[in-house]
Symmetry: C2
Subunit: 135 residues, 2 copies
Amino acid sequence: MLPATAPEAGEPKDHFIQRDGIAFAGSHLIIDLYDAERLDDLDHIEQTMVRCVEEAGATLLHIHLHPFEPNGGISGVAVLAESHISIHSWPERGYAALDVFMCGDAEPQRCVEVLRKAFSPARIAVQELLRGKGA
Amino acid sequence: MLPATAPEAGEPKDHFIQRDGIAFAGSHLIIDLYDAERLDDLDHIEQTMVRCVEEAGATLLHIHLHPFEPNGGISGVAVLAESHISIHSWPERGYAALDVFMCGDAEPQRCVEVLRKAFSPARIAVQELLRGKGA
């Protein structure tokens, strides 16, 4: 019998990430899409979020999307075994605000190319926050 | 009959926020709790998220929490009419990563005091990102 504190295979929350001598809880990407397309297409947004999860090597636990009237904006969140992805869109401005937060071995940077292909933005801004340094 | 593009009362996604001459989509608070308590208490975390929504004057649309084994960590997301709140906790480190993203007239800063009372952290770090400037 394993001790109660033994990590299980694939358990994402048991260890901080180690990179270049820094320990942190997870990589949190703040992603802005400008002059983007299909930001009012709920099915497309849901499929793109699922594709992001797959490309990043993450595990989807729960997904929820909500459409807004009258502008056609969409809010969506995906809860992952590795944290979450969110999107909020303002189609009338061609703008979408996303964040992709992943711990463990997942690769959140791989979502950026998925988003570029899905929404054809004129510009993408990506900022990485290393959450939990010093915790 | 109103024109199809007329904003509805309380519609949060129709206009960007104006503050000090800057237009932006929403205020996104990146909040880190260090040496905090009750980070493995699912009911307490859910109640605290709901309290944050109320204090900020926001509208809850959907909430989902997920507990992890073996460390007792919790992931939770709340979808709001004004965007979202998320929390991911590492109780074994006393650390929790939150983000509070709100557009419209909601007051996300009011969540900080709610979190301080709920989790008694030794330290809270708060960073504000103004999402969608220039969109």
